[in-house]
């Protein structure tokens, strides 16, 4: 790809800052560039192209640089201006290569790039030629994920670029009706949940909605959730855990009951000496475990006495035979 350019001095007033045809940057601040250009000048001139049929220029490369120049009060700047003849597809490719050469794209930028490339290329071409350059697997599944993200509302894209929504969560949210999606988005920016816990909450809400024939938005408006979110004391991580626990109890009522029953039962058993009776994982099968926590050899003797007591405990015997 060879595109002819000339270096010219361009008036900032002649640049159409609203045209985003080639702008791939999303969720990045121009502040570092303001500082750098303020001290050293604009070392790499932005690349512009004349807007078709108009007297203005579109930014092909260097949107943040132009923003920084504007903030610094420049009225004109050196730019490389693309000569007539270059196609839109070539200019988009230039814009992408210009950025990919020195930084990794965030998921919103990857998605935006894919969305725009599809104006000029087939899906197969984008998958095989561009997804690897964008750091994605060359598979249709990855392309579909990008398209889902590209179609998200602006505030969700901001949350994704800012890290409060995980990329996997964003692609799952994109599959939901808008009301449900925004309800989950509002939850995720109200509490702190890791990527895996966000995925769990989305899945749990989806299951509850499907099972109970409710909208996710209605589930998240439940009194229990509202109380958790409105409480003044817990921090965002603690609130996130409380929401998860509340949803899990709704999703797994029998398991939750079983866990509570077992916890109540275990309290009645001898437990001195750091001895803890653990149920079978997922209450599957009949193998129980005893955990002993100790830091000194001497404390093991106390634990041994507790284990001995458990081995003769009538309550435990009955539970092992009949269940708690």
């Amino acid at each position: 790809m060879s595109i002819a350019t000339t270096v010219s001095t361009i008036s900032l007033a002649a640049v159409d800052l609203d045209s985003r045809a080639f702008v791939v940057t999303f969720g990045r601040s121009c502040e570092p560039l303001v500082r750098a250009i303020g001290q050293a000048g604009c070392i790499n001139p932005p690349v512009l192209a004349a807007a078709p049929g108009q007297s203005t220029y579109r930014i092909v490369c260097g949107f943040l640089r132009v923003q920084a120049l504007q903030q610094l009060g420049h009225t004109e700047f050196f730019a490389r201006v693309i000569q007539p003849g270059a196609t839109e597809a070539e200019m988009l490719a230039w814009a992408l290569h210009d950025n990919l050469g020195h930084r990794a794209f965030n998921p919103v930028e990857q998605a935006g790039a894919v969305g725009r490339l599809l104006h000029y290329l087939t899906e197969e071409q984008v998958v095989s030629l561009w997804l690897p350059l964008l750091g994605l697997q060359p598979a249709m599944k990855a392309l579909d994920s990008c398209l889902r993200i590209d179609g998200l509302e602006h505030e969700l894209k901001q949350a994704l670029a800012g890290g409060s929504i995980a990329a996997h969560s964003a692609t799952e949210l994109a599959l939901l009706p808008a009301g449900d999606r925004l309800a989950l988005y509002r939850l995720f920016i109200s509490v702190h949940l890791s990527a895996s816990k966000q995925a769990e909450v989305i899945e749990t809400c989806g299951d509850l909605a499907r099972r109970d024939n409710m909208a996710i938005g209605a589930i998240l408006q439940s009194e229990g959730i509202r109380e958790i979110l409105a409480a003044p004391n817990p921090n965002l991580s603690q609130k996130g855990e409380q929401v998860r626990t509340w949803l899990r109890r709704c999703r797994f009522p029998r398991l939750s009951r079983r866990e509570e029953q077992f916890a109540a039962f275990a309290k009645k058993l001898p437990h001195a000496g750091g001895v803890r009776l653990a149920p079978p994982p997922s209450f599957e099968g009949g193998i129980y475990r005893i955990e002993i926590a100790f830091s000194q050899q001497g404390s093991l003797a106390g634990a041994a006495r507790t284990v001995q007591a458990l081995s003769q405990d009538e309550l435990l015997r009955r539970m092992l035979e009949d269940g708690p």
Binding site: R251, P281, S282, G285
Partner: protein
């Protein structure tokens, strides 16, 4: 239900002149046929495409199997398994059950028939356990419906001479269809057991897309029994849903009313269980299904299973109904643990080999 006719047939070059390929193509006049140099490369190319576009259950691949045709059932770890052997003359199924594990298990999105069946017979001839009689039960229903493509393949007729030459060895043909006509004319000599997967009428209607109705399946079982076949029934997967109790009881009652107990070789029971990745795939393909919203937890084998107390609730009822309505019929669990066995049947096979022996014994009756 109607017989499956593919919309498109891929033929691997190497399989082009094999008898099964010629036969299938003769029976699918007007269907576009595309010869491909390599099935493996075709599948790899299809995997790059959108799942919806290729997993449409409308395309058939005729190719050569490079692997073994006969293998041990994958079973599962840490649960009791029955030592079943799986024969694989193809993979994939034109029926579309929302719970089908093949949605997540198979990489190949095409309904596939292996045309090098002569190689299959040669392999079977060479298996020492088949000669010695230590393998007694083989089935073709693991990776496909045994009868759904029979109108194209005549597999039962093709394989019969081999199985008839091995007294004591049985091939189980497991299906949700009623395509039994090809079986009715066979001089089977007891070499085949014809089995149906059964579920409640509600699950059949809502989740087993393209399969025959419940009453149709039982009527088909009656027909094959009239031709001297023994039959099997598989309540697998049992699904905990609204009305499950009345639903499953009604099916057991239908069996008791229609099927002579002495014609039933075995009945298996198993609750819905699945690899974790199946849920997402199935819910995308079947947006209305609710079956994955049960209380599933990771089991000892890493598969998702209903909370044990839910399974026990279903199993105890089923075991009780069979005991009351079809006493003497051999009922066993597929991939269950000691607690399920003891709670439902009051006994637990001491090993997988012991369960295998129990099932093999049913063949002698």
């Amino acid at each position: 239900m109607t017989s499956f006719t593919p919309e498109h047939i891929y033929v691997e070059k190497q399989a082009e002149d094999l008898p099964l390929t010629r036969q299938v193509l003769d029976r699918c006049p007007g269907v576009p046929v595309e010869t491909v140099p390599s099935a493996k490369e075709l599948i790899a190319a299809l995997q790059k495409q959108r799942e919806d576009a290729v997993r449409g259950k409308k395309k058939l691949l005729l190719c050569c199997s490079r692997g073994r045709f006969l293998d041990a059932c994958p079973g599962t770890q840490r649960y009791r398994c029955c030592g079943y052997m799986v024969l694989t003359p193809g993979a994939g199924c034109p029926l579309d059950c929302s719970y089908c594990v093949l949605q997540a298990y198979l990489n190949n999105p095409l309904i596939t028939l292996y045309a090098n069946l002569q190689d299959m017979l040669e392999e079977l001839e060479s298996v020492p356990e088949l000669r010695s009689g230590s393998i007694r039960r083989i089935g073709t229903g693991e990776f496909m419906d045994s009868m759904a493509l029979e109108h194209l393949t005549d597999f039962a007729s093709f394989a019969l001479p081999f199985f008839r030459s091995r007294p004591g060895l049985v091939l189980e043909l497991k299906t949700k269809t009623v395509q039994i006509e090809p079986l009715l004319k066979l001089d089977h000599g007891g070499s085949y057991i014809i089995s149906w997967s059964l579920n409640t009428a509600g699950i059949v209607a809502a989740e087993e897309h393209g399969a025959a109705g419940l009453a149709e399946r039982i009527a088909a079982a009656k027909k094959v029994i009239e031709k001297g076949y023994r039959v099997g029934f598989h309540f697998d997967p049992m699904i905990y849903h609204e009305g499950w109790e009345q639903g499953y009881r009604a099916v057991v009652e239908m069996l008791a009313e229609n099927i002579p107990p002495e014609s039933i070789a075995w009945v298996s029971i198993g609750a819905l269980r699945f690899m974790p990745q199946l849920k997402g795939i199935a819910q995308r393909r079947f947006p209305c299904t609710r079956i994955y919203t049960g209380e599933f937890l990771s089991g000892m084998d890493g598969k998702m299973r209903y909370l044990q107390e839910i399974r026990l609730e279903m199993f105890k009822k089923m075991a009780g109904w069979f005991k009351a309505l079809l006493p003497g019929v051999f009922v066993y669990f597929c991939m269950e643990n000691e607690l399920s066995w003891n709670t439902s049947f009051g006994s637990f096979p001491t090993s997988n080999a012991a369960l295998k022996d129990l099932l093999d014994q049913q063949l002698r009756q």
